[in-house]
Amino acid sequence: MAASVLVPTVVSPEVVSLYIPAIFTGLLVGLIGLLAISYQKNDLHALILTDIVSLGMLILVAAVGTDLAEALILPGLVVELAEILAISEILMSREMRKMDKTVELIPLPLSFNMEILDTAPTFLAIILIIYGAFLSGFTGGAIAGGGILFYVLSKMTRGVPSNTWEGVAGASGIAWCLWIVGFLIFFVAPSYWLLALFLAAFGIFIKVAFKVGLIGVIGREEFKKDKE
């Protein structure tokens, strides 16, 4: 295969020609999101609309169209995901404190039972986790995490002892350490790069997957109160 097919010296003209429309789209989307935020009156809506604004950011980064740009999209995505999670949690905590005692503390049971919830989850979750394990890294972590999340969400058992939670969180902390070690090996002893690569890829996979799975644990508390 020709080297130019593998890696060209300059960015291809198609990408260059798409740059200006892409940037304009990004700016426009950002603008729409910002305008909407500036006249909304509700904090929850502000949270949803910030999602749009960060989509604008993704376009701006993607428009560069190089491998580097792709590597930069991943942090952008991660930051977006992380912040939405943290902020929504704060919002809920704030509202619960504001409402204080008057709220009905036990949430409503979900009375319907869909067929899809009984059969699909296990199968889909297994596929996703296996595929995620094959991919590893951020991508794999997100995919496997999505699988775990979905499984947990639609399973019938309920009640999360906080020990379990802390245990899973601890495991992902260890994975994070593994991953840092992998990174260090890359720079200290480049000859062991293969080991480093595997540590890095799987460390981050386990970490992301477990963390995402934890969201499912939060979610289960919400949706499956009826099946005691």
Partner: protein
């Protein structure tokens, strides 16, 4: 067979249309409608990523969108349940 321009401009159209719909579309007073409408620009972005062949980013993005949607839905349901006026 695959026309990157078609893909790109469909993506652009979806993104702009979707974000306008999210901002001022019909019935967006209801947060769940707003959340559903954010799915349109996110598919648009996916198309743009596909155009640039950012496929790994695309894969991550698809997974992340689902997670974000789940977080948002959880927040919405919880807020409704609390009866928060905001």
């Amino acid at each position: 067979m695959f026309d990157i321009y078609v893909c790109f401009y469909t993506g652009v159209l979806l993104v702009i249309l979707g974000s306008i719909a999210t901002a001022i579309g019909p019935g967006v007073k209801d947060p769940i409608v707003r959340t559903l409408n954010t799915e349109i620009p996110s598919v648009g972005i996916s198309l743009i990523l596909l155009t640039y062949n950012h496929t790994i980013a695309l894969l991550t993005f698809i997974a992340a969108t689902v997670i974000i949607m789940m977080i948002l839905l959880r927040a919405i349901v919880r807020m409704e349940e609390l009866g928060a006026e905001l």
